[in-house]
Amino acid sequence: MQSMELPLVLFTVLSQAAVGMVLMSAVRGFAGHESGSARNEWTLVAGLMGLGIAASLFHLGHPLEAYRALAHLEKAWLSREVLAAGAFLALAAGAAAVGGGRGALLWGAMLAGLATVVASGMTYAPPAFPALNNALPTVFFLISAVVLGAGFANWFAGPGSQALLARICATALVTGLVVRLAVPCVWLSGGEVMRLSGLAWLGSPLYWASIAVLAACLGVLWKNRTIPVWLPILALLGELAGRAAFFAETVHTAVNIGNLY
């Protein structure tokens, strides 16, 4: 088991919640539904991303030099992630200031948000983790964005949007549960380090807590057909547990040097 990387857990989950809320705002716009309180909604979007970025600074040995992380945009996905997250925060804060994001502001925030999620997915898919050195981190992160985005957006949605958001949230939860349950089982058939990752995930209380919490969220949605006010908080806790397992339990290739791969 490696470090849980709590600042990164908070940054990735909170930033994805913020991006998901913007995606849901766009979906509601396409469906012709009006937002209940656009200023408050965008304030929460900016707040979540701001909190995530602030949390990520605690991961650095020298947080005051964080601005220099933009220096290697040419190759480093971490530099691109910082740029995209910064742009998203600026756009979300701008939208909150003008009373809600529409038109170019919404499209800009959506593109910057998707770029943040993809850049995060690439950053946390390094060659040292064979189990994650693929599209899986991006898939996990997009699913988290939709689950949390639909959940939190429901706080601000008019009555006409609530059934739509509940359906989106339920679909993302089902997809997320299937992916999360299948992936470690698939890893068991891979190379030695991938197999060790699968075993570590399946033996992790954090992983099972995440599955249990997200399954409970799905059960509540199934029963109610709407998203209760407290459900996004529960889903957030489930996502945080799952992300902690993602960082702590995935096995690094170097741990097996001298043995079969």
């Binding site: 991961h59 650095l60 040995g61 020298h62 030099e65 964080a66 220099r68 992380a69 933009l70 220096a71 290697h72 190759k75 480093a76 996905w77 971490l78 530099s79 910082v82 950053t123 946390y124 390094p126 060659p127 040292a128 983790f129 380090v193 690094h252 290739t253 170097a254 741990v255 097996n256 040097i257 001298g258 043995n259 079969l260 791969y261």
Partner: protein
Amino acid sequence: MKKHYAFLVDSEKCIGCFTCAMACRNYYHQVEGVVWRHVYPLGEGIYPHRERAFFSLACNHCENPACLNVCPVEAYTKREEDGVVVHHQEKCIGCGNCIRSCPYGAPVYNPVEKRAEKCSLCHERLDAGLLPACVQSCPTGALKLVDLATMEPGNEIQFPAGFPRNEKVNPSTRFIMPKVPTLVRR
């Protein structure tokens, strides 16, 4: 052709004495818990004999280094003249991205400096015409410095069992595998 320095690890000669790792430590005085060179015993799945065999490994000074590619502050450079991958610690912000990304676990976190660090192939010694501290200290000649640009092909291999196969980063270290020990029956 430009020089491309690399370590040649001869596991037939290595006796697992850790002199290389101690020489590295003696030369650089890393803080407690920070180790640039490790001596890994080969597991029974790879070398199933009563005799033991080892890989002495530090940074592989890869052709396409993961650490250099992922570093957001450009704290890594690869020297044009000899291919040595150098970490400029004063530029590092301690994000740990290189540590997570290197498949060989070469960069490590220095908890005092709060920045990463790794083997530099003793480039300052190379520039002075000296061998790296680990190579100079090896009592059996199991660890050598070679120039991949001029090395005659022999029985060296790049990806032996027990060493992560990552062709994309293309590690420079080469290995000579241990022979099967002779069994003497009475």
